[in-house]
C-alpha cells in the first residue's frame, strides 16, 4: 500500500514540529526517516499512524484520504521504541491481542489465532518463550515480540519508531539485518524512524532526511550519501571537514577567511603528500594525532590557519608515506561539495 503525505503541518505550542511536509512512499518499500532529535520524524510517523493529528494536511493510503480515521481503522502495525508490550500478558497473549480484540463477526476462531501466533513465534525465533512475561525477556527479544504483535493483525503498513534505539550495539546490528530480511520476505510498506545514519543507509530502500520539521532530501541510500542536496544532509551523513571557499573561473579554492561559500570535504577525500602538489587548490597542515587501528588510518591535523582537519587514508598509503606525528604536510582535496553558506543550497562540485 502506498502512502501519500501532503502538506502536513503540526505545532506543539510555539514549537513547529512539522512544516508543510510532503512525502511519497511507494508500495512495498522500506523507508527510513532520518534526522536529529527534534527534527519531527517521530511526529510524522505518529501522524501517519493516527496517534497524533495534523493541524493541516492529509495522509492518504493508496490514494484514499485516511486523515480522519482512528489508528485501529488505518490497519497499521506500530512498533514503539520502548516496546510497549502489555506487561500483564504472556508473549503469546501479547501477539494474539490484535486478533482477540476484533469484533465477534471478524474475529478468527481460537485455533486460527493459535496457528497465527505459532507461525509468528517461529518467525521471531521465540517459540520456547511463548508463556513468558515481557519482564523476563531481553531487550532484543522484547522488540521481536513487539514486531510479531504488530504483524499479527496483517497490517497494510508497518511503522517503527526508533525500533532499535534502546538496544545495545551488537543486538542492534543483528536485529536490523533481520528486519531487512523480513521485509524482503513480506514486502509490507514500512517506515522506520532513526537518528542513526548508518542504520538508515544500511536497511532502507529510501532514506528521507529530516531537519527542523522539513524533509531535506529523499532518495536511495547511495544517492543521498553521494549527492547530498543540502549542506545539512552532507553534514549529517558521515563525518565531514568544513572550509570556507571562493570560486575563481569555475574552480573552488579553499580559503582561510569567511566567505559566502561553504566547502564540504569528506575525510577520505583529502590526500596528504610531502611534495608540493601540482593542483593549485591545496593547503599546508601539521599532523597532531594518528590512529592506525582499524581498516582506515585516521589522521588529525591542524591547517596553516589553525583549524582542525580530519584525513582518512588506507593502511597501504599510510605505510608508503610513513607519516609521523608533528610533521608538516600538504593536503589536497580530491572531491568537494560547495554550498552557499546562507541558504545551504549546492553550488558546484569538483
Amino acid at each position: 500500500m502506498s502512502i501519500n503525505v501532503r502538506g502536513v503541518t503540526k505545532a506543539f505550542g510555539d514549537f513547529v514540529a512539522l512544516d508543510n511536509v510532503d512525502l511519497e512512499i511507494p508500495a512495498g518499500k522500506l523507508v527510513a526517516l532520518l534526522g536529529p532529535s527534534g527534527s519531527g520524524k517521530t511526529t510524522l510517523l505518529r501522524i501517519i499512524a493516527g496517534l497524533e493529528f495534523a493541524d493541516a494536511g492529509t495522509i492518504a493510503f493508496d490514494g484514499a484520504d485516511i486523515s480522519q480515521r482512528s489508528p485501529g481503522e488505518r490497519q497499521v502495525g506500530f512498533v514503539f521504541q520502548h516496546y510497549a508490550l502489555f506487561r500483564h500478558m504472556t508473549v503469546f497473549e501479547n501477539i494474539a491481542f490484535g486478533l482477540r480484540v476484533r469484533p465477534r463477526s471478524s474475529r478468527p476462531s481460537e485455533e486460527r489465532i493459535r496457528a497465527k501466533v505459532e507461525e509468528l513465534l517461529r518467525l521471531i525465533q521465540l517459540r520456547n518463550q511463548a508463556s513468558r512475561y515481557p519482564s523476563q525477556l531481553s531487550g532484543g527479544q522484547r522488540q521481536r515480540v513487539a514486531l510479531a504483535r504488530a504483524l499479527a493483525v496483517e497490517p497494510s503498513v508497518l511503522l517503527l519508531d526508533e525500533p532499535f534505539g534502546a538496544l545495545d550495539a551488537k543486538v542492534r546490528l543483528e536485529l536490523r539485518r533481520w528486519l531487512r530480511n523480513l521485509h524482503d520476505e513480506v514486502h509490507i510498506t514500512s517506515i522506520f524512524v532513526t537518528h542513526d545514519q548508518e542504520e538508515a543507509l544500511e536497511v532502507a530502500d529510501h532514506v528521507a532526511v529530516m531537519n527542523r520539521g522539513k524533509i531535506e532530501q529523499i532518495g536511495a541510500p547511495d544517492d543521498v550519501y553521494n549527492h547530498p542536496a543540502t549542506s545539512f544532509v552532507f553534514n549529517f551523513l558521515g563525518s565531514v571537514n568544513l572550509f570556507h571557499g571562493r570560486i575563481e573561473e569555475g574552480t573552488t579554492y579553499i580559503h582561510q577567511t569567511a566567505t559566502d561559500h561553504l566547502v564540504f570535504v569528506r575525510p577520505h577525500s583529502l590526500e596528504i603528500s610531502r611534495r608540493l602538489p601540482d593542483h593549485p587548490n591545496h593547503f599546508r597542515a601539521t599532523t597532531k594525532h594518528i590512529n592506525a587501528a582499524g581498516p582506515l588510518v585516521k589522521v588529525e591535523a591542524v591547517t596553516e590557519w589553525g583549524a582542525p582537519v580530519q584525513v582518512e587514508m588506507s593502511q597501504e598509503r599510510f605505510r608508503d608515506l610513513s607519516l609521523i606525528k608533528g610533521e608538516e604536510v600538504f593536503v589536497v582535496p580530491t572531491e568537494l561539495a560547495v554550498f552557499r553558506s546562507s541558504e545551504g543550497t549546492p553550488v558546484a562540485r569538483a
Binding site: P71, G72, G77, F78, F80, R87, F97, R102, A150, V153
Partner: protein, 291 residues
C-alpha cells in the same frame, strides 16, 4: 570509640566476625537492634496493647455474654448500617477514583491541579466539619433542606446523610492510590492497543485496568477500612437514632457511655476484627505487588 558505645546486649567486638556488614548503607548490629527494638516497643504500646484490651474486656464475662451482644437488634442494625454505608460508598468511590485518576494521569487540561487539590480536600478537612457542611446543605435550615423536606426526602438524621458523608470522607483513597501508578505507566500500552484495533472500551478493560489492579485493590481496602470506621462526620449527620441511624462506631460510643462495657467492647472487637482482616488483605496485596 567502638568500645565506648555498647547497646544493651550487643557485643560490638564480636559482631563484625559473625555478622559481616552487607554494604556501605548498613549499620552496626547495635544500631540496628536499637532501631528495631524502638519500633517494636512503640507498636506494642500503641497498637498491640489497646487491641489486647479490646478483646480481653469483650470476653471478660465469658463467650456467652460476648455473643449475646450480637443478638441485640440495635447492634445488628448498627452492623447492617455500617455494611450498607461501606457497600455503597466503596463502589461509588472506585468508579470516581478510576475516572479521576485516569483523567488526571492521562490528559493535560485546564484546572488539573485544582482538581487534584479538591480530591485531597477530605484528607485536610476535619470530618466533623465535613459533617457540618452536609447539615448546612441538606439540614432543616439548610440550603436545600426545606425543598427536600417538602418533597418528602430526608437526608440529615437519616441513612442517606450517613452514606453521603461516608462517600465524602473516603473519596480520596482510590484516586490517590491509582494516580501514581497510572502516571508512571504512561500511554504507550494504550497506544499500542489502539493501533492493534482495540476500541477505547476494550483498551480500558484489557490493558489499563489490569495494569493498575493491585493499586486499585489497595485503594479499595483503605477506602473500605475508613468507610467502616468513620466516626466524626457520621456522628454529626446521624442524629443517633438507635436501631435506625447508628453505625458501629456510634453504637460503640453509646454502649460505652451507657456503662455497657462488655457489649461496647464486643462490637469494638468486631470492628477491630474487620480492620485486622483488612490489614491482612492489604499485606497480601502488597506482597503480590512486589512479586
Amino acid at each position: 570509640m567502638a568500645e565506648a558505645i555498647t547497646w544493651g546486649e550487643a557485643r560490638p567486638n564480636r559482631q563484625p566476625a559473625t555478622v559481616p556488614r552487607t554494604g556501605a548503607t548498613s549499620e552496626p548490629a547495635g544500631v540496628r537492634w536499637l532501631l528495631i527494638g524502638t519500633a517494636a516497643a512503640f507498636l506494642a504500646v500503641f497498637l498491640f496493647l489497646p487491641l489486647a484490651v479490646v478483646f480481653s474486656t469483650a470476653l471478660e464475662k465469658g463467650a456467652f455474654a460476648y455473643f449475646k451482644t450480637f443478638a441485640d437488634p440495635d447492634t445488628l442494625s448498627a452492623i447492617r448500617l455500617t455494611l450498607l454505608a461501606a457497600g455503597i460508598s466503596v463502589p461509588l468511590n472506585v468508579a470516581f477514583g478510576i475516572a479521576a485518576a485516569w483523567v488526571i494521569g492521562k490528559f493535560e487540561f485546564f484546572g488539573k491541579s485544582l482538581l487534584i487539590t479538591l480530591i485531597d480536600l477530605p484528607f485536610s478537612v476535619s470530618p466533623v466539619v465535613a459533617g457540618l457542611v452536609f447539615v448546612l446543605l441538606f439540614g432543616l435550615q439548610g440550603l436545600f433542606g426545606p425543598w427536600l423536606i417538602a418533597h418528602g426526602v430526608r437526608i440529615i438524621f437519616a441513612i442517606p446523610g450517613i452514606v453521603l458523608v461516608t462517600i465524602f470522607v473516603t473519596f480520596p483513597f482510590v484516586a490517590r492510590e491509582l494516580l501514581p501508578t497510572i502516571q508512571a505507566q504512561g500511554n504507550d500500552e494504550e497506544e499500542a492497543a489502539l493501533t492493534l484495533g482495540a476500541n477505547g472500551w476494550k483498551t480500558f478493560w484489557r490493558v489499563t485496568l489490569p495494569n493498575v489492579k493491585w493499586a486499585l485493590l489497595y485503594g479499595v481496602i483503605l477506602c473500605n477500612a475508613r468507610a467502616m470506621g468513620e466516626f466524626g462526620a457520621v456522628s454529626v449527620v446521624s442524629g443517633h437514632i438507635r436501631g435506625l441511624t447508628d453505625t458501629m462506631p456510634l453504637h460503640i460510643e453509646f454502649l460505652y457511655n451507657d456503662y455497657q462495657f462488655v457489649p461496647a467492647f464486643a462490637v469494638a472487637s468486631l470492628l477491630a476484627l474487620l480492620a485486622l482482616v483488612t490489614l491482612v488483605a492489604k499485606s497480601i496485596v502488597e506482597w503480590r505487588t512486589q512479586s
